[in-house]
């Protein structure tokens, strides 16, 4: 069917107008064919109907709802009862003295994550790969995946356990070394290290899977050749292992850059204390407070839109770059 349509459209390009009109089947015939095809496929349309309805209501309606950012939106009145205010919310947000603080907090937290949470799994994978005992390797791997499956609330609960100034193990250790205990969770200067270190703890094992699978696909003959040439194991890592997984590392890095703006809301929200707002207030927590707590939907959506636009630019940029290094195509 599709082939027929293509042929007729080719005719348009190659032949003169006169014969075209003669060769082409009349509109009613073509329409009949199309309808017949659609009628034959009616079960497929029935199949995708719930999916389409779902996507339209719960994925695309919220996208249209972004226009809330340009309204003085009142949830009870809807769009018809709300006044259009143009860029008022954006101006309010950009002229807010906290704007740069929020942006800085969001970006710096992500840059640190990129530096540490991204490199840690690579090093972990390389070290795992050097283990000689396969059973030991498997056990370490299994144990390292465990934190990934714990919820953020549980992880933060464990942090409270470990870091509590009175009952925490870390402070017990500090006291036994003759130091004063520190209230880690209240002090702003410890917020970022806590966020990053717990992030590494949770993600290092799981993040290493991609690299480990890349490592297993390296040709073993390369290592044998290197051994014959007398290369030490360290040199083998530098000259064979790392170059072999270079592309994987680059792709994963670029994809992480695309994520730069989407800081994990959950953990920041749960680690937030009134005493550490100066470092822990990021765009997503700000949106939550504006929108859900204060019901200022217009402004909150405007902030969210700003966040999405910046991250969309980053995502676009990073996928453009990653296409150079990988042949991953979706759908």
């Amino acid at each position: 069917m599709m082939a027929d349509v293509n042929i007729t459209s080719n005719d348009v390009n190659t032949q003169q107008l006169e014969p075209l009109v003669k060769n082409r089947p009349p509109f009613t015939v073509r329409a009949k064919k199309v309808f017949k095809k659609i009628w034959n496929d009616r079960l497929i349309y029935l199949m995708i109907l719930p999916v389409v309805v779902y996507y339209v209501i719960f994925r695309y309606l919220p996208m249209a709802g972004i226009s809330i950012a340009f309204y003085d939106y009142k949830i009870l009145k809807g769009f018809s009862g709300s006044t259009f205010v143009g860029f008022k919310h954006f101006i309010t947000f950009f002229s807010n003295p906290d704007f740069f603080k929020l942006l800085y907090n969001t970006i710096i937290l992500n840059v640190y994550s990129l530096l540490f949470c991204f490199t840690a799994p690579i090093i972990f994978a390389l070290l795992l790969n050097e283990l000689r005992n396969k059973h030991f390797k498997k056990t370490v791997q299994t144990v390292s995946y465990l934190p990934y499956f714990l919820s953020t609330v549980v992880v933060v609960g464990m942090l409270y356990n470990l870091l509590s100034p009175t009952t925490g193990s870390i402070n017990a250790l500090l006291r036994s070394m003759g130091k004063d205990s520190i209230n880690f969770l209240q002090e702003p200067k410890y917020f970022r290290p806590i966020y990053i270190i717990s992030g590494i703890w949770q993600g290092i094992g799981w993040g290493s899977i991609v690299y480990l699978s890349a490592l297993t696909s390296i040709d073993q003959e390369l290592y044998e050749a290197a051994m014959v040439d007398g290369a030490s194991r360290f040199k083998q890592v530098i000259h064979i292992t790392l170059p072999s997984i270079k592309n994987t590392i680059i792709v994963m890095f670029i994809l992480q850059v695309g994520n730069l703006m989407s800081v994990g809301f959950e953990k920041v929200f749960l680690l937030q204390q009134p005493t550490n707002y100066s470092v822990s207030e990021v765009l997503s927590t700000y949106i939550y407070k504006l929108g859900i707590t204060n019901a200022n939907y217009g402004l909150a959506t405007a902030v969210g839109l700003f966040n999405s636009v910046v991250s969309l630019i980053l995502v676009y940029f990073s996928t453009y770059l990653s296409k150079k290094y990988s042949e991953t195509t979706l759908l």
């Binding site: 599709m2 695309y60 409270y160 051994m227």
Partner: protein, 298 residues
């Protein structure tokens, strides 16, 4: 043995160092979990004196008895199971309905349908507009909001489609069509039974996602009897208050059944973790393609 002889002193030292480092790392991975377990099982004396690290002291299960008797935790557990099980079933169904036509059918609008799913992978309305839509539809303060929220995730559609396209030969589908089977019969009679492994993996991931979800319940649930485990958990361990204690608890403290909150907090953490601890070893074999697509999704 030959290999061993070849190792230089430096390499031997490195191997030993590496093994020790891995053991330390394993200890770091496990310590917080074991610490929680130990505190939850200890008597109040040692906990108050900060003596409990890995091994429980004056072992007692009072904290667990207390939790089982607490109707809010019980209710939250039931709510979470409901969301995870019903959500998992509904999600699997819609994901199959979306992935099958993309993998095996030609129809007008297929490209549009594909793009509709792909665009949703990259772009969303964000927290507030989604919340407003949920409210307009009347799902706020309903457990269905949590199910609907992640119902037909584009990411799983893509994963399942690539499994369908790669794992099931098109000739099988064609021969069933020639035999007069319609697309629903092919999907439920052939494709789904052949993809049990992939579907089981996706199902487990959906369950893990629902079980650990905190943001959606935080946004959409208002009544205490609708709370899921993660919300109750936050109330108990981070605010050390709220949902757990009611008027009747004051009387219990007077009765002398002293259980300090630290043990209950830790017992709740353990109770909420158990299903994940059971599931996760089965999820290890998760296909790497899934992870890379997950990274692409961001």
């Amino acid at each position: 043995m030959v290999v061993k002889d070849r190792r230089t002193k430096g390499e031997k030292a490195f191997d030993i160092f590496n093994v020790i480092l891995m053991c330390i790392l394993c200890a770091i991975f496990l310590y917080p979990v074991l610490n929680v377990l130990a505190i939850s099982l200890s008597g109040s004396g040692p906990v108050l004196r900060h003596e409990v690290f890995i091994i429980p002291k004056k072992v007692t299960t009072n904290a667990y008895k207390d939790i089982i008797a607490n109707k809010y935790i019980y209710q939250a557990y039931l709510n979470t199971i409901f969301v995870a099980v019903v959500g998992c079933f509904c999600s699997l169904l819609t994901i199959c309905l979306a992935a099958y036509p993309i993998a095996f059918c030609d129809f007008y609008g297929k490209r549009l349908f594909k793009n509709m799913i792909l665009i949703a992978l990259w772009f969303g309305g964000g927290m507030i507009p989604t919340y407003v839509v949920m409210q307009k539809v009347g799902l706020v303060n309903s457990l269905w909001a949590l199910i609907i929220n992640v119902l037909c995730s584009s990411y799983y559609v893509i994963v399942l489609r690539s499994f369908f396209a790669g794992g099931i030969p098109k000739s099988l589908i064609e021969s069933m069509r020639i035999d007069g089977a319609n697309d629903f019969q092919i999907l439920f009679g052939l494709v789904i039974p052949l993809s049990k492994a992939a579907l089981a993996t996706i199902a487990l991931w959906i369950i893990v996602g629902h079980w650990n979800d905190f943001v959606a319940p935080l946004l959409y649930l208002q009544d205490r009897d609708k709370y899921t485990l993660q919300i109750v958990l936050r109330d108990i361990i981070l605010q050390a208050s709220g949902s757990l204690y009611e008027a009747n608890d004051a009387s219990r403290i007077q009765e002398g059944a002293m259980i300090i909150p630290a043990q209950i907090q830790n017992a709740v953490i353990i109770v909420s973790m158990i299903p994940m601890l059971i599931i996760y070893p089965f999820l290890q074999k998760f296909f790497v393609t899934g992870i890379t697509i997950g990274a692409v999704k961001g």
